[in-house]
Symmetry: C2
Subunit: 355 residues, 2 copies
Amino acid sequence: MTELKNDRFLRALRREATDTTPIWVMRQAGRYLPEYRATRERAGSFMGLAQNPEYACEVTLQPLERFELDAAILFSDILTIPDAMGLGLSFAQGEGPQFAHPVRTAADIAKLAVPDMDGELRYVMDALRLIRRELHGRVPLIGFSGSPWTLACYMVEGQGSKDFATLKAMCWNEPKLAHQLLDTLAQAVAHYLIAQAAAGAQALMIFDTWGGLLGPASFREFSLRYMARIVDALKADPQARELPIVLFSKGAGQHLAEMADTGCAALGVDWTMDISAARLAVAGKVALQGNLDPAVMRANPDVIRREARAVLDSYGNHPGHVFNLGHGITPEVDPAHVKVLVDEVHDYGRTLRTR
Amino acid sequence: MTELKNDRFLRALRREATDTTPIWVMRQAGRYLPEYRATRERAGSFMGLAQNPEYACEVTLQPLERFELDAAILFSDILTIPDAMGLGLSFAQGEGPQFAHPVRTAADIAKLAVPDMDGELRYVMDALRLIRRELHGRVPLIGFSGSPWTLACYMVEGQGSKDFATLKAMCWNEPKLAHQLLDTLAQAVAHYLIAQAAAGAQALMIFDTWGGLLGPASFREFSLRYMARIVDALKADPQARELPIVLFSKGAGQHLAEMADTGCAALGVDWTMDISAARLAVAGKVALQGNLDPAVMRANPDVIRREARAVLDSYGNHPGHVFNLGHGITPEVDPAHVKVLVDEVHDYGRTLRTR
């Protein structure tokens, strides 16, 4: 394998010293980029884009051509596993994800099997191998998955929802069934991330987009428990154990201390809490990734610079900070604003280290 | 005025002893009730219902006929003020609110004036007077408004949004303009709630539905500051000062201590934190209202009872708890489940007090 030319991101995840603060942006390969929209157009559909390794590689690399980002992230979707389980994922234009065959009954759940990583999900591994080759060691490559809870939310509801009350009702009315579903999903996610490590991913992230919809006891029982199980499985794999794992539960700032105890390397932090408070909460156990309000990217460049510095100052001159937005970048953002952000984080990150 | 026959709710807001825990339910007059849907049908539209005092009174009282609720809440919408300011509020079938004339420019904001409480908003006061009369002192009547921040979210966006980034961008790019808008709205809300007190409301609640979308510094600057200003204005009014004020910022659990310092009587708590933690955070300064996950109402009766007891146990045998859901009840809920909840809260609330 080619030697890594920029290892800031991996060093920060290990809480080692870096020359400046590394930055990448959730959904950095996305609709705010005209070149992404052009490739998406050629691919015909979102899934046509995600399932074609050449297209996936192309859009993964696009933001790196424009901005001095410190990591690439596989272009894919958090719902590839349920799609590979036969639920039939699609995205109507301008709409969220939809499953043709939602999972509702005991029979539906009993039928679910861990997909074949060299079969239904081979396109993901092919994309990772191709991206890794095309990166030539410029920056590390992040692989990812949705969390079991978040996958289950969509699988049971069949689509997006404000409250995912269908799955919640299952958790309360038929907890054994819900746990059976989450257990199958945790196994699938573990296999999936282990296969991603083998295919060339250099860090792994689990997106628990809807963990924050749960009350504290339910979060522990239905979300955190299964993410912890995945971390354990990755730690038991000789290859995957070398990769730093990042957990991100949106809206779950109060659970950071418990999440840090899973053995993951880092936690994502959304923008609704000060990252200084998050740093105190995790007490040096993990690195942190975040946490600029994504809406700041809609403001003017001076505001973006000021707010980026505020996040950097809040974390302070300590190791273990990966700069990111607190959630994905949105389609309306001017790409020039991303350059402003990336350059300011690197410039100010250097200044911060001289204090 | 008729003497109040059930003052549990008001006593709990004053943190006085009660025989059991009072309960009301956000959106208790709403689409989950067939009799509500029938009245709504007759009224022709949501605004036709809200703006007709007889209809508003009718639906306000409907849930009290079915359940032993300890408070009535005016049937209305959080967006009556911007509608009265001329923005043209409507609700398309099955959709959220929409404004015909969103507010975007300095000129739009300069044109906004505090509506006439005996003019454009007279229907609200007429409804309160009528409901108060028809209640015959059975339970206290709650008046309410949206918070300035939440009103501004919809006024600037023109409709619902995941992130209300248009208003956020205004706050960052043109903070003076945003403050001018919020200042006008705070004046309007204060006048509105004072008029509601004069018309017969016995407690006042401010719904800050979107405060939790803000980072901590922005929450203080753009949401909390204006709610505090309204509390001050109410405290300066000889009639309104007697009414307990409840503030509810959804998703803002980490700010409870600061919110308690405004001089309000109580805070709403959503379901994403333990109410025991909320009680510690506010250190006896205010009462708390909450905080069952609204999705529990979709589970079976045994689960509803168990989860209700868990909330009551979490608050413990202390004064100052008003039971509620952590957010509004949803249309799919079986009304029989609300009876299960209300009866369990009263029964178990009594048991709790004998410990």
